[in-house]
């Protein structure tokens, strides 16, 4: 059991059942929430997945995926494909399991005791949850950025090359090259190039988060997982991160969890809307935001509840 007794950054079990749409009665009465009501009753629902994403080239394929924290089920029967080379956003109200789903992809949930999973996930065709998967190797193929910027208490340079160092890479030239390349990709090189040897903790929040992105991409991952990367940042820093996401999306597949609908609309190509651990609707962002298949989705993305 990993670090029990210390605080986890997120406690997905709490309030899972109790989070409901905080809706104004006079507004909601007009719309019939067929899917949402079914989910609330605990019935299985058929997610509305748009045709273009049903048979795309999925870098990550999720197939009947369920997850339990102890006795409480947090994710119900998720089926979706994350298309290669595009930015996909996961949206939904708090506690809907979007972070949990993201963390299941690089098996960060293994670190929490009592987590049980069922179903399949594949990264480029190879199963993620097969018994003989090397979790360490898997995580090296997936870069991850967390909600709160978490640079290590070392120099900027050491932070960026950390994934290479743990692989035993000690050639100075290789490390320096990788460091510069990755910091340039993360659009922070100009700001930190003169102080690479100084502590990363001296950077501002936005810079720290870009540093974390640089750290996540230094080992050239197949997918970049972003878990609400802007939620702890101010609007200007958020803007820069969003620009950065658009930039790195040219090279990497990005899966981003966000609370912010505008952000999803701005940066992502596809959007998945989740509710209480189930996928509700999944389609190209433009469709989700302009012509969603379900009234619930429309209500949510226009901010009428959630």
């Amino acid at each position: 059991m990993p670090y029990a007794g210390t605080e986890m950054s997120e406690k997905p079990t709490q309030g899972l059942r109790h989070v409901a749409f905080q809706t104004e009665p006079e507004k909601t009465q007009r719309v019939e929430y067929r899917v949402i009501e079914a989910i609330r009753r605990g019935e299985p629902v058929d997610p509305s997945v748009h045709a273009s994403l049903k048979d795309c080239d999925g870098v990550i394929e999720i197939d009947s995926f369920n997850l339990w924290y102890g006795q409480a089920q947090a994710i119900y029967d998720i089926n979706m494909k994350i298309p290669r080379g595009e930015v996909t956003a996961l949206i939904g109200p708090s506690g809907c399991g979007k972070s949990t789903l993201l963390r299941s992809i690089n098996r960060m949930n293994d670190l929490i005791g009592g987590v049980r999973v069922d179903g399949r996930m594949r990264l480029n065709g190879s199963p993620i949850y097969a018994p003989d998967v090397d979790v360490i190797g898997l995580r090296k193929r997936l870069g991850m950025v967390f909600q709160k910027p978490n640079p290590f208490p070392m120099s900027i340079y050491e932070n960026v090359v950390y994934p290479l160092r743990i692989d035993g890479e000690n050639r100075r030239r290789v490390l320096e090259e990788a460091c510069e390349r990755s910091l340039r990709s993360a659009a922070i090189w100009d700001e930190v190039k003169d102080r690479l040897k100084q502590s990363a903790l001296g950077l501002s929040g936005g810079q720290q988060q870009r540093l974390c992105i640089a750290r996540a991409i230094v080992a050239d991952p197949e997918v970049l997982l972003l878990d609400e990367p802007c939620s702890a940042l101010d609007p200007i820093a958020t803007l820069r991160i969003e620009e950065l996401i658009t930039q790195i999306a040219e090279k990497y597949t990005v899966l981003i969890v966000t609370h912010n609908m505008q952000q999803a609309a701005r940066v992502s190509k596809n959007t998945a809307f989740m509710y209480l651990g189930r996928l509700v609707e999944y389609g190209p962002t433009a469709d989700i935001f302009q012509t969603p298949a379900l009234p619930e989705t429309e209500q949510y993305v226009t901010g009428r509840f959630g």
């Binding site: 670090y3 210390t6 960060m108 991850m144 709160k148 750290r215």
Partner: protein, 723 residues
């Protein structure tokens, strides 16, 4: 806070609110005001501070003033008798003064309470001096003559106070140097010859013991057989690993290589250990003829050594004879007797080389007094104790204390840190872990003398005796049983490991019933392995100790009190402190750091090594500091496991093996107790209690300061405040 109450006056209502009743300060109940609690809490702090400052201040004032030279007073009593002395204490009721009067070797009381009513007059005659001597404590008197005795004839070289002091200043340094040389010859050169003789004797003795042993002869395990056994063990391990891997099914790439390597190392380790213990290359022991020739050679060497011994002794005698020429006649006023060289030779005046220092305070300016003060401090810090510790220095005591503290710190820190890492990071957090944690915390509350008793019984008498002479003959297993036991142990270990691997559930699933059973069997097997391994070690037929010959003569080496066991006992005593603070430090490393590291694809150990341990280092150092401070100040267990009143042999020396962990040692804490309560001359020792306490405080402070500075630097680096 109190101001808040006073400020809470309703502001002039700008028409918004009708003017209310004016607030009355007096009506506020006392409990609602801030002041009483400020006074109470502040007062408590003041009381604490006053007591602490009082304690430290008392130690510092007494400790610092002890070595300041005080005037030598000539006191004439009402009955006409006269004596010289220095004031050391005063009493108000009845009004009296304690004088240090010295001159113990001619039957005087060295300390004397004098009632003020009895005193006729007090003078400070410029000729009166205090002589600090090598033996028999101080002498008060007036220097009259300096003589040189050649062939029984006394020749006066200086007459009168001024001339004698001039002679003293001119000749004293070289006389003391000769004296130190004699000391060095006696201690080092004679000691070396003595130890060499002892070594020769022990060599013969150990061969004799070896030949008497019947169980060894005729039962050597030949090297090929041993290699075969080691290979078989390795093969068995390989099979175990292969089976375990197949059944386990989710091994990590590269782990195969690592596991095989680990087991090969383990097998090789067992093999090498066996070879070392059994020493097959040593072959049969000596024949009678070889022993006889060894005895001859030893006897020859002994003659040589004896000659060297006599030569050194002759040099010493010669130097001493030279020393015996220079003598000082320092007369006390009461009966006109001079300071004797020895108590049994009252007619021979004291030798110049026996004088440590003549302090003519009455004729000194402040500068000279400071000089004496500093020279006394230097003597205190750099020389060995004399006169049952009441005089001289505490150099061996300082060395012993510092060595012990360092040794205990470097023993306890790695052990405690590793244990805490397991407890916090690897152990499943359940009722067993909680119980262990509570038990560890409670260990910190066990009275330290209990650790002393345990240390004496376990470390000194059990482990030490084992190191000295190996297991007792009656507990030694027959070789066949021993090897069978080794096989069982290895098998149990492999099975325990396999159980551990098999019982691990696939991540994301619950462990099955069978896996739970397997895990419990794994625990049982590990316990069995541990018990068997310990049994194999303590009952081995192949180990007869490192110091067998000495132990056979009844003089234990490690089998009695000593530095090593004292350090281990204190390490045990301070272990809870280190474990608790390390655990807290590890827990305080933010989880976001760990997650970030795992997210980068780091393994658990990589995360621990690169993120968690560096992040916890300031806290770990705090634990080490606390352990150090507690260990350095501990006395009770040391009295049982190694601290002694006097040991001139330091635990470090220039002689192999340089670090003598088997020696008993002197320790400042124990020294304070010894000076205060065990001294034959408690009046003389009392000032030294203060200086020694001051020194102990200073040493603990210095050790802590070093650690605190290191910690502050680390902390600054971690928080990025110094960039």
């Amino acid at each position: 806070m109190s101001r808040m109450v006073g400020d809470r006056v309703v502001p002039a209502a700008n028409g918004a609110r009708p003017p209310g009743k004016p607030l009355e300060m007096r009506s506020t109940p006392l409990s609602a005001r801030g002041e009483p609690m400020i006074w109470l809490t502040g007062g408590a702090l003041v009381v604490c501070l006053v007591m602490i400052i009082g304690l430290v201040g008392m130690i510092v004032t007494h400790g610092m003033t002890t070595f300041w030279p005080r005037p030598v007073e000539q006191v004439t009593l009402q009955d006409g008798s006269v004596f010289l002395g220095i004031r050391t204490a005063e009493d108000d009721e009845p009004a009296r003064t304690l004088y240090r009067t010295g001159n113990r070797d001619i039957g005087r009381e060295p300390f004397r309470w004098v009632s003020h009513a009895d005193i006729a007059s007090i003078e400070t005659p410029p000729g009166a001096v205090m002589v600090e001597r090598e033996a028999w404590s101080v002498w008060f008197g007036v220097p009259e003559r300096a003589v040189e005795v050649i062939d029984g004839e006394q020749r006066v070289v200086a007459e009168g106070y001024e001339a004698v002091m001039a002679y003293y200043h001119a000749e004293h340094a070289s006389a003391r140097q000769r004296r130190a040389e004699v000391e060095r010859l006696m201690r080092q050169d004679l000691g070396r010859v003595n130890r060499e003789m002892e070594r020769q004797r022990l060599r013969v003795r150990s061969v004799e013991l070896d030949m008497q042993r019947t169980d060894r002869i005729g039962s050597p395990m030949p090297l090929p057989a041993f290699v075969g056994a080691a290979a078989a063990v390795l093969g068995l391990l390989g099979v175990g690993v292969a089976v375990g891997r197949r059944a386990n099914g989710h091994s990590v790439s590269g782990r195969w290589v690592r596991v095989v390597r680990l087991f090969c190392f383990l097998g090789a380790f067992i093999g090498i250990l066996g070879c070392l213990l059994h020493a097959p290359w040593r072959g049969a022991t000596m024949t009678e003829a070889e022993l006889a020739s060894l005895r001859d050679r030893t006897a020859q060497r002994e003659v040589e050594l004896q000659a060297e011994y006599d030569r050194i002794l002759a040099t010493i005698r010669e130097k001493e004879a030279f020393d015996a020429r220079q003598r000082l006649i320092i007369v006390e006023p009461t009966e006109g007797r001079f300071a004797p060289a020895r108590q049994i030779e009252p007619d021979n005046p004291i030798q110049l080389s026996q004088v440590v220092r003549i302090v003519d305070t009455n004729a000194m300016g402040t500068g000279q007094k400071v000089g004496v003060f500093l020279s006394r401090w230097w003597e205190f810090l750099s020389t060995r104790p004399r006169e049952a510790n009441t005089e001289g220095g505490v150099f061996p005591v300082i060395v012993g204390t510092v060595m012990l503290t360092l040794l205990l710190t470097i023993t306890v820190t790695p052990l405690g840190v590793i244990a805490a890492l397991y407890l916090r990071e690897y152990a499943p957090q359940g009722i067993i872990t909680s119980t262990i944690r509570i038990a560890v915390n409670n260990l910190a509350g066990v009275p330290s003398i209990v650790y002393g008793v345990f240390g004496l019984g376990f470390f000194c008498y059990t482990v030490g005796a084992f190191v000295d002479a190996g297991p007792a003959p009656e507990v030694r297993l027959p070789p066949v049983w021993w090897w069978a036991g080794l096989g069982t142990t290895v098998a149990a270990m492999i099975m325990a490991y396999a159980c551990g691997v098999w019982s691990r559930p696939v991540p994301g699933t619950e462990p099955s019933k069978a896996q739970i059973v397997l895990r419990r069997s794994g625990w049982a097997l590990w316990t069995m392995t541990l018990v068997l391994a310990v049994t194999l070690v303590v009952r081995t037929p192949y180990f007869t100790g490192f110091f067998e010959a000495r132990a056979a003569d009844g003089s234990p080496t490690f089998g009695s009190r000593g530095m090593l066991w004292a350090a281990l006992t204190l390490a045990l005593l301070t272990l809870p402190v280190v474990i608790v603070s390390t655990e807290e430090a590890i827990a305080s490393v933010p989880n976001s750091m760990r997650e970030g590291s795992y997210g980068c694809g780091a393994s658990k150990w990589q995360t621990l090594r690169r993120i968690v341990i560096p992040g916890a280092l300031p806290g770990i150092l705090t634990g080490a500091i606390l352990a150090m401070a507690r260990g350095a100040g501990e006395v009770a267990p040391l009295m049982l496991v190694g601290a002694v009143k006097l040991n001139q042999d330091l635990p470090v020396s220039g002689e192999a093996p340089y670090l003598h962990l088997d020696r008993s040692f002197m320790h400042l804490g124990f020294h304070i107790y010894d000076l205060g309560f065990q001294s034959p001359d408690s009046q003389a020792a009392r000032p030294l209690v203060w200086t020694t306490t001051l020194l102990l405080l200073a040493i603990v402070l210095a050790l802590n300061l070093v650690a605190i500075i290191i910690r502050a630097r680390l902390r600054a680096r971690l928080t990025g405040s110094t960039v």
